[in-house]
Every structure is written in structure tokens, then in C-alpha cells.
């Protein structure tokens, strides 16, 4: 069991610019080949947690001040992203961030930066197999692609690196429900076929818990709840706050929710 843990975050604190504390002791463990979803409202610290893992805190003047991040038995906190990506961790950023002035195919090629030998052809074919919609757009500038296509580009780009651990930050952001469904199906496919471990940060808790094996709920820079996805879906608090279904299935007025909110079980 212990050997199955790919990534272990032990009680980390993250501070930006030496003053702003964002994470206050976050611990989580990610098992190999699992999809783990990280839920929580805006500003809870989900994205910061991912950045702490991928090393992208550094350019933003953030630092892991306490605790440790262990990946495959190795301490990786406060390492440079150049190093961490080469260990097999790729972070797909929130808000998609394509290379606008590069074509779709060039965007994908940047994904091979971490590897020495670059069989572009096979990798490209693999990505087009998961995202067939990209094939006819391969020569187009990424800046002119639609939101759904952009999400496919950035995920495909990450796949080109053959990551062992893929960090997905809000892949459903601003996409139509049908496209979201498609993207999530592809995430499951990647997880099963490529044996890629995935940490999924989502606002769309319903979708995320459907495909995840395990879930964590964050609030105010702390993990407040964890459990297998099946348990979390049944949890009345999760239902209330993240899935939008009342305990009895009836709609509540905003005032009720607010009064209930003060009595959250985990605070």
C-alpha cells in the first residue's frame, strides 16, 4: 500500500512575497494511477497547492516554508520547474495559456521540451488519437482556436511530455456542458490507457467526483475533508455546498444556506 503512493504532501505552508500565507498545513497523498480531485471555493488554495508541486511558485515569488513534498521518495519542494518537469510532473495551467502565435502543432511540439529523444511523429499521433478535433486545426494559430480546442491543445501539449503525474487546473473553466463532458471522458481515457496519475482541481464538483477515485476538499488554505469519491458524493455537506442539492433535495433560499453555512461540520 505504502509503495503505491506516488506523491505525498506533508503539512506544507506556502507564503507569497514573505508575507502572504496561502497554505496553512496541507497534507495529501496521491496513489499511483488514481485520479484525485481537489475541490474548494475560489481562493481556497487549490491552484497554489498545484503550483507548489510543479515548482511554479518560484517565478511568482512564492515559497514552501514548511513541510515537505515527496515524489517517488524524493524531496521536491522549492525545486525549479525545469527539474520537476523532468521528473515527470506536468502542470496544465488554469485559463489554458496557449502559445497564441504558434500553430497548434508547434504548441504540441513544445511539450517535448523535457525529453532528449524526440519521436515527434508517434507522440503527435498519440495526441491526435485522444483529441481528433485537433487534426484539422494543426496548421492554425492557436490564438484563433475556440475554448474547447484550446483546452485540448494544452492537455495534448502536456501529454507530449509523457507525464507520470498530470496536474490539471480547472479544465472545465468556461466551456459548454457538452464540451466539458467530452474533456472529462478524455481525462478518464488518459488515466486508464497511459497509466497517468492525475490531480484534478475543479469547481465543477459533480463532474470531478464522477471520474475521481479520491477527493479532498480545501477551504482557507487547509484540507477540511477527504474521502473516496463515492463517500464524498454522499456526504450531506458536500451535497449542500458543492453539488447544490439540499439535504432533502429541495431548493433552499440563499438565507437558509448562509445560516447553515455557519454550522459547517468541519469548522
Amino acid at each position: 500500500m505504502e509503495n503505491n503512493i506516488l506523491l505525498q504532501i506533508n503539512n506544507i505552508s506556502v507564503v507569497y512575497s514573505d508575507v502572504i500565507q496561502v497554505l496553512k498545513g496541507v497534507s495529501l497523498a496521491v496513489e499511483k494511477n488514481h485520479i484525485v480531485s481537489l475541490l474548494g471555493s475560489n481562493g481556497a488554495g487549490k491552484t497554489t497547492t498545484l503550483k507548489a508541486v510543479s515548482g511554479l511558485l518560484k517565478p511568482e515569488n512564492g515559497k514552501v516554508t514548511d513541510g515537505s513534498i515527496i515524489y517517488k521518495g524524493r524531496n521536491i519542494q522549492n525545486q525549479y520547474p525545469e527539474f520537476i518537469t523532468r521528473q515527470g510532473i506536468i502542470h496544465v495551467l488554469e485559463g489554458r495559456q496557449p502559445f497564441k502565435y504558434l500553430t497548434v502543432e508547434e504548441n504540441l511540439k513544445v511539450g517535448t521540451a523535457t525529453r532528449w529523444l524526440k519521436p515527434h511523429k508517434d507522440d503527435l499521433e498519440m495526441v491526435y488519437h485522444y483529441f481528433p478535433a485537433l487534426v484539422k486545426r494543426r496548421k492554425a494559430l492557436a490564438g484563433y482556436c475556440s475554448g474547447g480546442e484550446l483546452q485540448m491543445i494544452v492537455m495534448g501539449r502536456a501529454l507530449m511530455a509523457h507525464p507520470e503525474l498530470l496536474l490539471l487546473d480547472e479544465p472545465s473553466l468556461g466551456l459548454a456542458p457538452l464540451v466539458v463532458k467530452e474533456i472529462f471522458e478524455i481525462i478518464v481515457k488518459i488515466n486508464e490507457e497511459q497509466a497517468t496519475t492525475i490531480i484534478l482541481v475543479e469547481q465543477n464538483a459533480g463532474m470531478a467526483l464522477q471520474i475521481a477515485h479520491y477527493g479532498y476538499v480545501m477551504e482557507n488554505g487547509k484540507i477540511v475533508m477527504e474521502g473516496s469519491a463515492a463517500d464524498l458524493v454522499k456526504n450531506p455537506d458536500i451535497k449542500e455546498f458543492y453539488l447544490g442539492v439540499g439535504v432533502a433535495g429541495d431548493l433552499r433560499s440563499y438565507r437558509d444556506v448562509k445560516s447553515y453555512r455557519r454550522r459547517k461540520r468541519w469548522l
Partner: protein
């Protein structure tokens, strides 16, 4: 008519040279948003290195040329490593002030070693490169400029379009954070862009040295001429730098030829102002792709 054609040819070759010197400048700006005020001094470094190799070390021309290019490449790499890398993440104005400091330093070193006099290269360009037809006379150095310039353009064009490293460099210019998240060595890209910029600058320094003679002050002043060129062409467009260079070159020679030689340094700037009124990003400046 002959006079016109002569001016046209002079203008294009001088302009092409401006464009080439500006190309290095654009490359640094594109990858790291740094305005390099030491660009003129980089030109001078190349020119003097070549001078030293040809006159002091008595090397044949071709090896001297290649060694100069390699030397400039290394120089750019070292400059980035020693002076610019510690400033990554600091406000841009610090970095720009640093390049001003670098400019003085290079200038000082060159004055110390070579003095402020005008030097010349021995005449080495084969005369068959010159073209003489009626009243039109194209000196060999202009033909050589065109050939070398076009070769450089083609090589770098292919490099940026097709090679992996070229694509990484463009990706960093495009979205640094995303490039970092994919494991692109951003620092290596910065170093490479300085190295390539210094190489191109050194090459244009040599050619300028052949045309005007080699003098520290003159060559570093050319660095200032880079500004109208790149602003005209668009600060972040390599092709724009070449076109901007040719336009400035043509304006200079035509005003020099038809109006008055004393106006030749002024008119390009006047035209520049008018073009910028119409196209504030320069002729080929990157239009922000916006999704509506």
C-alpha cells in the same frame, strides 16, 4: 535615372545592414522584453575582434570571420550568464539600466585597448563582387552585405520555424509561464537569444567597419540608429526589423542625395513620427490576438 538607381541600391544595402543590426536587438526584446542599450557596443566588439584577428594575429579572412562570429556568440552567452541572469525576476528597469552600464563598460574596454582612432581593415573583398554598369557603381561591400544578410535571414528563419530549440524560443517569447510549466529551459533560451543577438551584431559590426572604418564612437552610435528601425518595424518583429531598416536606409540616402546631406539624419525620424501616428505598434508590430 542612373542617380536614382544608384541611390536606391545604396539605400537598400545600407538599410539591410541597419535591419540586420536591429535583428539582434529585436531578438533580445522578444524573448525577455529587455531593451538592450549596449547593442551598438556589441557591434563594436565584433568589429574590433575581427580587426584584432586580421591585423594582429594575421589570420586569413575566412577563419578570422568565423572565429569572430563564434567569439561574439560566446560573448553574448557569457554576458547573459554573468550580468543578466542574477537580475531575472527583478523589475525590467533595473535590467535596462544594467545594459546602459554594460555599454559604458564595453566602450571603455575597447577605448583602452584600441584607442579612439579610426582603424581600417585591409582590403580583402574580391573585386568581382563589385558591379560597374554605366554610371551605376556598386562597391563589393554592398554586394557582400546583401549576400551575408540574406544567408543569415534564411538560416535564422529556418531555425526559428523548424528546429525544436527555435520553437522553444518562440514559445518563451509567447507565454513564459506556460513554457516554464512544460519544462522549457527559459534561462537557456535567454542566454541563447543574447548569444545569437551578439553574433548577428558582431557580423553587422564587421560589415559596417568595412564601409565606414572602425571607430568605437561611430559604431556605438549606430546602436542608437537601431531604435528608429525597430520602432518603425515593430519592436517584436524580426521581419519588421529588416523592412524597417531598409525604409530608414532608403530615406537616408534619398534625402542625402536629393535634398541635402545635412538633412539625412533628420528626415527618417520625421517620417517615423508620421508612420507611428497611423500605426502605433510599428508596421509589423504584433497585433494582440484577442478572442471576442
Amino acid at each position: 535615372m542612373d542617380f536614382f538607381v544608384q541611390l536606391l541600391i545604396n539605400g537598400i544595402s545600407v538599410g539591410f545592414l541597419y535591419g540586420l543590426s536591429a535583428m539582434g536587438f529585436v531578438m533580445i526584446f522578444k524573448s525577455s522584453s529587455v531593451l538592450n542599450f549596449a547593442h551598438g557596443e556589441l557591434l563594436a566588439m565584433g568589429a574590433f575582434l575581427f580587426l584584432a584577428l586580421v591585423t594582429w594575429a594575421q589570420l586569413p579572412i575566412l577563419p578570422a570571420f568565423l572565429i569572430t562570429l563564434a567569439g561574439c556568440f560566446v560573448l553574448g552567452f557569457v554576458v547573459e550568464r554573468l550580468f543578466l541572469r542574477p537580475l531575472i525576476g527583478e523589475p525590467l528597469i533595473f535590467v535596462i539600466m544594467l545594459t546602459v552600464g554594460l555599454a559604458s563598460m564595453f566602450k571603455g574596454i575597447l577605448l583602452l585597448i584600441f584607442g579612439g582612432n579610426l582603424n581600417t581593415y585591409p582590403d580583402f573583398l574580391p573585386s568581382f563582387l563589385g558591379i560597374q554598369r554605366g554610371m551605376i557603381n556598386i562597391p563589393p561591400v554592398y554586394t557582400a552585405t546583401l549576400i551575408i544578410g540574406l544567408t543569415f535571414l534564411a538560416v535564422f528563419g529556418l531555425f526559428f520555424k523548424y528546429s525544436s530549440q527555435g520553437i522553444y524560443m518562440r514559445s518563451v517569447a509567447d507565454n513564459q509561464k506556460a513554457a516554464l510549466s512544460l519544462g522549457v529551459h527559459v534561462k537557456l533560451v535567454f542566454a541563447l537569444s543574447w548569444a545569437i543577438a551578439a553574433l548577428v551584431a558582431g557580423m553587422s559590426g564587421i560589415v559596417l567597419g568595412i564601409i565606414n572604418g572602425i571607430n568605437v564612437h561611430d559604431l556605438s552610435a549606430i546602436g542608437l540608429k537601431v531604435f528608429p528601425v525597430v520602432i518603425l518595424g515593430g519592436l517584436d518583429s524580426i521581419g519588421g526589423a529588416i523592412i524597417g531598416g531598409i525604409i530608414i536606409g532608403l530615406l537616408e540616402t534619398f534625402t542625402g542625395g536629393y535634398l541635402s546631406p545635412s538633412l539625412r539624419d533628420v528626415v527618417p525620424y520625421i517620417v517615423l513620427v508620421f508612420i507611428l501616428l497611423v500605426k502605433p505598434y510599428g508596421l509589423f508590430g504584433l497585433k494582440e490576438i484577442e478572442r471576442v
